[in-house]
């Protein structure tokens, strides 16, 4: 593969949105759009004849590498098993339960200032939070706490290993020279 083609391939690979020919032209400081178009055509043919895992798709006025549709089933499996992240809302709710347990939903909601039914349900389903019991109040509201899975997720021996707010405060502010 000649250098220009390889460089264009690397740009296609790293690009977040479909790459326009003009953009490639600017990045590589080329005069000629045709050279780029030829390289793209040649890449597309190569992917096709080589029957690779991905192909070159002309889309939304640009070019983008995409996995072959016939492999969609495998990719979906990959995405299903991908370690998910917790949303910010779930993270906040979880942290309140972790630090303030045993705690009532109404207290979680007081602290977060929003309804937490949905995030608590998510956390219950993921077995990070459990119902420890019911409080002797009108309506017998449920009391929430964390689970063994919670400890495992964060690799904690027990709740005493949770870092405290003081630990975090002791670290001070992030170093100003590091642009985050």
């Amino acid at each position: 593969m000649d250098d220009l083609k390889a460089i264009i391939e690397s740009l296609l690979f790293a690009a977040e949105i479909p790459l326009k020919i003009d953009k490639i032209k600017t990045i590589l400081e080329l005069e000629d759009r045709d050279v780029i178009r030829d390289a793209l055509t040649s890449l597309a043919e190569e992917y096709e004849s080589g029957k690779r895992g991905f192909f070159l798709n002309e889309v939304a006025g640009g070019f983008q590498l995409r996995t072959r549709p016939e492999y969609g089933q495998w990719i979906r499996r990959l995405k299903e098993t991908r370690p998910a992240r917790l949303s910010r809302a779930a993270m906040e709710t979880l942290s309140i339960v972790a630090y303030k347990q045993p705690i009532l939903r109404s207290d979680v909601e007081y602290l977060r200032g929003v309804d937490c039914g949905g995030t608590l349900r998510t956390l219950l389903e993921r077995r990070l939070v459990r119902i420890m019991g019911r409080k002797d109040l009108p309506g017998r509201p449920m009391i929430y706490g964390t689970t063994r899975e919670f400890l495992e997720l964060f690799d904690l021996k027990d709740l005493t290993e949770l870092p405290s707010l003081k630990d975090l405060k002791d670290l001070g502010e992030a170093w100003p020279n590091d642009s985050t």
Partner: protein, 242 residues
Amino acid sequence: MEQTQDQTPYQVNLGELFDGPMDLLVHLVKKNEVDIYDIPIALITQQYVEYLEWMKSVNIDVAGEFLVMAATLAHIKSRMLLPTPEEEGEDEDPRMEIIRPLAEYLQLKYAADDLLDRDRLDWDVFRRADLDAAEAWSDEEPGLIQVGLFELIDAFQDIIKRVSPKYLWDLTPDKISVKSRMSQISELIEEKGSVAFTELFETEATRGDIIVTFLAVLEMAKLQLIRVMQHVESGIIRIFNG
């Protein structure tokens, strides 16, 4: 990653020129082209102090740790001047007090350079753009969760910042221990249905642990998370789910 070189004159402190006293020492050893294992301690001490003096004269804030190092250097220098009593002739070179940490610091500084020389992600090499990043944050996603302890406490701190300080009760170690014990007891009861009061103490080692367990049981009873029952005949106290 590249270093930040711009230092605005009115904001300078020594910590921005040198990342601490060790860094300044490395600079002096390097400038004088001396062997780190045979540091001319008098010369380096003199230059080190001169450096601090100069800093002060141009109104640069000299942090405490730089002064501590100056004292250490002066101390080593004075020990070098003392005649060694013959019976202690095999005493270690006083300079080792500074040479050892300096050598280790240097090694790790080299290591940092070695790391930066590697093909760095998002600088030398790039992975494919994460096109589904937004989707990855959804609540609906099943499966495992990838998250760190720092994120957890960071989230909690954000909440604490938002709510009134009167809600900020102190999480002292004891309080946390009790909470932790409560959680364990609760798991235990969930598993077994009920547990004998004495069972809770059998594995306890220290007096502190016993107190923590006792407080946990009291607190749980107060919150009606558990029911404490005593057998009429045997006198055995058992704890049940509330």
